[in-house]
Every structure is written in structure tokens, then in C-alpha cells.
Symmetry: C2
Subunit: 241 residues, 2 copies
Amino acid sequence: MKRFKKMEPVDKGSLVDKVEVRLLAFFKENNLKVGDAIPKELEFAASLGVSRTVVREALLRLRTLGLVESKKHRGMILKQPDIITNFERIMDPTLLGEDVLKQLFELRLILEMGMVDFLFEHKNQKDLDDLEEIVAAEEALSYTANRFSLDREVAFHGKLYQISGNKTLMGFQNLLLPVFEYKYLQEEKKGKGDYKYSKGQFVTHRMLMDNLKVGTPETFRNAMRRHLEPHFDHVFNPPKG
Amino acid sequence: MKRFKKMEPVDKGSLVDKVEVRLLAFFKENNLKVGDAIPKELEFAASLGVSRTVVREALLRLRTLGLVESKKHRGMILKQPDIITNFERIMDPTLLGEDVLKQLFELRLILEMGMVDFLFEHKNQKDLDDLEEIVAAEEALSYTANRFSLDREVAFHGKLYQISGNKTLMGFQNLLLPVFEYKYLQEEKKGKGDYKYSKGQFVTHRMLMDNLKVGTPETFRNAMRRHLEPHFDHVFNPPKG
């Protein structure tokens, strides 16, 4: 039997997809920077040999992604894309699947365990004073010590993210918060929201704070790991049903 | 003088913005799930009292973000948004500012330090065999032991991300890789790419692997921290100029 050469599949990518890629390449090749004006729709349409509608749709996409914006009297300019804003619209927990929710929940634990070196590098007296205030306030409310409460978690851990000095990281924390809250409420509805400690010593926010004051990244990481134990336990030994 | 009541600022949000928000609310209120068909452009336009063009533009945005997709004969359906794909287009290092690049570089260190518990929870014999192969291959190439090489970093650390079992995390790693490479090449161009060890013991990939085999999350985290020391040093004590 005659052996045929392998056929290349037909390119099914849409025109808009192709124009989008070409526009991005154009920005790079011309070394355009944030704030620079870009050519008009009509010019792109002429250069690329496509309709103005196609160019318009590709530019709309880039605008949706925050890569370009329209300025009065200047047409469109390049914009510093805001990574976090891009996430916000799609991070609605009710629109995400169970598996992605679980991964995002895990991601939050990963970030808190991972950012410790940055806390020790950037902490200052003002930060420690703020933390002291947060811890004192929650102690005054005298919650049951070993019961999980979302509000005090947010106040304390949000401050830690802030100390890390990384704005992108802080943005992630804000995005992950609704996921965290949603998962917690979900479990609580099923009567499984009462986080229990399966092992190890209970590490309070005060103990973490003291560790941040006088400890090292190593001691703080171990303390944080024990503090997060109920959540790790929840992830590694999920409640049945 | 007569004190006037404070005036509310005029709502300047665009019609498309408003329609986008209303569409998302509609999906939630009707408890629509991934795969469900949504009403047609014309119906939305009639219900919301806006033009079909406005609805179309809002739907295009949602399509760009991966929240809806067009299906033949079914119109538009809800889609599980792919968090990572959304990032991909805007994560071109040449389009990001210096500050964001630095934050993303730091984020990679945070993820590697933070994911350790998941490595120990999910590792199996196959994973350790794969790692052994990767380490043996790089040793056979006999790179200078304490010189940073992007390729072997990617092979080894990419495998670790895979062992973590978290697909969103793996997606981030893939997104951060170009940033990492870009920053490295940038430094090298300036003659500052020769990562040096400022302190501590040099921890090789083999040592990390052995630690993963017989150690604990605590010992592995300390080893990983020392392994990443050149990068932390680079972030905390950036070369001048």
C-alpha cells in the first residue's frame, strides 16, 4: 500500500485569535512601553489585511485583560496589566468546580507557609505593634480558644501578608479569601465546619506573634505549620460524605 | 454659610460594565452550572433594556475570561474558567513592570518553600524514581556544582511541583518560569547573573531528593531554604546598579 505523507491539520484558529497574537507581537517588536499610544483600528486592519471588526474584537479582548485602555483624545494606550484584577471576576467560588476550589484552598496554605522569610526580612516595630493590637483585640473578645473564626483569621493573617511587602501576594490573599470563606461555610452547613486538632500543640496567634518578634524563620515556620494544622488535617484527611 | 448635603458622585461606569455584572449575577441567581446553556443575546437585551451590541460586548468579555463559550447549535454555555489560561496572555515579562517582575520572582520562592507538606503527603515510589533519574542525568552532565543553570532547575523543581498534586500550583509554576528566566537573563546581561552563595551550606538537588526520601517536612523545608539561598540573597540584597 502506498504510504502517504502525514497531512498537517487545517488551522482552525479564529481570525480574532490570530490578530490578538499579532497585536501582542507588534507591541513587543516595537518595544512599546506602558503609556505609549498604539496605532488606530483602521491602520491595524489595513496592515493585517482583516476587517476593522476583527481588529476591534481583538483589541476588546486586550482591554478586558487590562493590557490596553482607551484615553480621550489619545486613542488606545498600553497599560500595565493588573494581574489581580484579571482574577477577580473569575474567582467567584460558586462558579468554580470542587477540584479547583480544593486547589485554591491548598494554595492559601502554601502561601502562608512559604512567605515566612519575607516576614522576617521586612518586619518593623510598627508592624509588630499593629499585630499586638490585633491579637489583644481578639483576646478581649474571648472567643473559644481552639475554635476557628474567620474574622480573626482574616485580621491576623491579612496583617502578615501585608508585612511580606509583596503586593501581588496580598492581592492573591484577597482573592483566596472568598474561596476560604465559601469552603468553610460549605463544611459548616454539612456539620463538618468545627475544625478539630488531630495532633500537636495548639499554636495561637499570640504565640505566632511572639515567635515573629524573637524567633527565626525556622522556628516561625514550624509554629505556623502547627497553627495551620486543622486546615492541613482537613485537606489531607477530608471528612467523609 | 449654608451647609449642603454631600452629593453622591455620578455613576460613570459604562453600560457594558453594568451588563457584565448583571449577567454574572443572573448566572448565580439561577444557580447555573458549568455546561448549562444561557439565554440569547436578544433576550438579555430585552430584559435589561439595553442594545444587543452592549450585551454582545459584555458576553465577549466573559468569553475572553473563559466564563462562557459558544457551542454549535446550543448557543452559549457556561464554562469552567481556566485560571491559568487567563494569566498566560498577560504574563509576558517584557510587558510587565520591574516591580511586578520582582514580586513574581519572590512568589516563586514562596511557592517552593510553602508546598513542602504536600510533597510529603503525595510522594510515591514512582515520583522518587523519576527524581533519581533527573538528578542522575544532571550529574552526568557534570555542570559546575555551584553554578546556577536554568534547565536543570526546571527539570528538578518542575517534578516537585508535579508531586505536589495541585494542578493550579503547577499552572503557576509554568507561568512563573518565563519571569524567572527573564530576570535571570537580565541579570546576566548586566554581568550580575553569577549567583553566589553568601552563607550556609550548599544543598544540591541530590541532597534535597535524599531528604524527601528519608526526611520530614521540617528537615526538607530547611534544606530547601538553603538550596534557594542564592535567590533569597539576590532578592534581599539586590546587586547595585
